[in-house]
Amino acid sequence: MSNYLVLTKSPAFTSIATAILVLLMFVVGGLFLPGFFAVQVVFNLLIDNAYLLVLSIGMTFVILSGGIDLSIGSVLALTTLLCGFLLQTWHWSAWIVIPLVLTFGFMFGIIMGAVIEYFKLQPFIVTLAGMFLARGLCYVISINSITIENDFFTRMSQTQIALFGGFISPSVLVALALLALAIFLAHYTAFGRAIYAIGGNEQSALMMGLPVARTKVLVYGFSGCCAALAGVLFSFYMLSGYALHAEGSELDAIAAVVIGGTLLTGGVGYVAGTMSGVMMLGLIQTMIAFDGTLSSWWIKIVIGALLLVFCLVQRMLSTKNHSLN
């Protein structure tokens, strides 16, 4: 019994639970849905959700630091439009455009972070404004969608990398590479550990001499950069820039992060857990699509229900931890 208690005390508990749940769901899906148990199903999951993984990784860091970023979906859309515009109207090379939009995303995040930190405003309202601003800028660039015909982008969109009898897209590799980098950042660099410390107790972090203000601003910069990268991947996927792209994806990202075991209050969670969260969301979508009998609106309801369950579990575990003291 005490071992069980120790297990629930571990911050990895929810993350591990989610990972197990994902495996379970996959098995259940395979049992009940014909054609589900295939390697390509998993790979398709990755291909379709590569952008969400990138988005959620950025969100994970922000939530770990105790904040929230509601602008990432809009920044994603804005990035797709910037790509479309720069590639199609000004005919810039992809090698210039991609680094440029990544820098733009980074600066967008930095500005929001600076306003939050130096004026001591609540993150959700500033990033909400950022969300408005970015979507608005989308429409300023173009009301209609811009089709991307750039060579590099098209190649990225159509390339299939053979693996284990199936195939994945380059975006998946990019997303997984980012995941590896993020894990390294979170666990092996001072920046990552500072984020955890600030999320745990900002006052203590300050007293211990950690660069709190700088870290908090940088975290939003990182999130903005991830949103921009997700936008690039999404452009590969859709080969278009459109203001309505990825609407509501910030909520998906938050859901993925929470389901992946990161506490919304900050300081506790794993980037790898976010991977499980994204897989879970993707699986739900895939299973409902495979099933064909449930309408797709159920996805939102299920996500809402999952969010609730995981929030409750987090709440129960945190009060348990406190009472054990």
């Binding site: 092996y188 955890y196 410390a197 745990g200 107790n201 211990m208 001499g209 506790v268 003291n325």
Partner: protein
Amino acid sequence: MSLPIRQNQFQPVLELSGISKHFSGVHALNNVSLRLYPGEVHTLMGQNGAGKSTLIKVLTGLHIPDQGRITLNGKLIEPTSTQHAQQLGISTVYQEVNLCPNLSVAENIFIGRYPRRFGAISWTTMRNKSIELLHKLKVDIDVTRPLASFSLAMQQMVAIARALNISCKLLILDEPTSSLDEAEVQLLFGVLRELRAQGIAILFVTHFLDQTYAISDRITVMRNGELEGEYLCAELPRLTLVNKMIGQVDELGSASKSADFATSSTDHTFKFPSDTVSRPAFLSAVGLGKKTVLPPLDLTIYQGELLGFSGLLGSGRTETARLLFGADQADSGHMIIDGKRAYFRSPLDAISRGIGFCSEDRKKEGAILALSVRENMHLALQAQRGWRRQIPISLQKEQTWRMVRLLGIKVADIDMPIANLSGGNQQKVLLARWLLTNPNMLILDEPTRGIDVHAKQEIMDHIRQLSDAGMTILLISSELSDVIDYSDRIIVFRDRTIVGEFAGGELNQETVQQVISGHVGVMPIYSSNSENEVSHV
């Protein structure tokens, strides 16, 4: 005053000379000197406003002194921030620990100074080094577990280990034992003795008398921003210590109080315990306690009496009052009121039985600064009636003005925010708030703190009048003279236990101090913890 000379020839590790610090004209520190020797536990003691926390802040670089110097191992230093002070070798462990509970023990020790391998953080090195560090403190725990999974005492050990890791010449512990139980205190003291043996200088700040005598080598007493004295622990009798902390005679002097007394004392007869025993009890607490806050105690408050709580700061008076009101929920014990058992789980339980409570922190727990005087005054009464039945505004205005006249509140417009009023007048409004509810019992925690002399007198007179009219009152005050002069019965606290109960008029300032310090020679009517009384001749 001459400072005692040590037998051996060690030089002080840290020396503060002539430190003064002013804040908008008020001196928080006035020409304070302090010497800290290696291998010594030096305890800093003082009551409210003594200047202890300001001194600590000067040492750790949070305040720059206006005058004076700080020398570390003979060299002049000027710490400008906590990090700078740490680099110089001065580390502080606070009561709230100030670490990150979500991170592991090992990480907490190494935050900001991670051991690295090829540029990346090396967790194995961190783990091994922290185990080593904790072993030096004779502590053996799983350093990979999150800090929050350990008790507060253990968390403090981790904080100390962290401080030592940053290479420590002086370790400051700011009230580390306030939330620890007896066993944990012993654990901490074991570590301190270990560190002392290793030659580290330790500055220990505490309220607890017994702990001071258990661990200290040297004691410095401060009062009102000034140095009262530096003594070797073995040469300082408890009574002298209490004396130095509280002072012989308070500013006004009892004499001037008695002058005012003469007019009113004829109307007031002290109700002696023999009287109160025959009076019915209003409220009894049986085994009331809360883990790490207050050990279980028994207490009876009699109908119509003015009961005073006396004792040093941190001795448990406010904690007891809060449990009695339900502001904090008790872990153990219960109350008996109207002959029936009751458990006060929230203030609502107490208020519904006619008990009112004026908190000691007026700003944070009493006055709603943005609301008007009228609104502040009617909050408790309105809360009793519920939100649906609003007290008619005209009645509110009438009652407010009545209270203004009754208590002498200086206010021009009762619909202006209470923040515009002076401290004394704000306190009167808060008093009026509870009076409007027509309580059976009123708990007043430091009702005259931070208030000018004249207003103080007015408030105490009103309290006296209320008592005369038959209200049961529990008065907590650091103004010893107030407690002595006004109470029918006085209960004395020391180190969170009751050490004595006396009739009003039986005690004077001297004898109260003797009781607090445990000096034999004063015979209380009833002493609950006779084992705790240590005799010092």
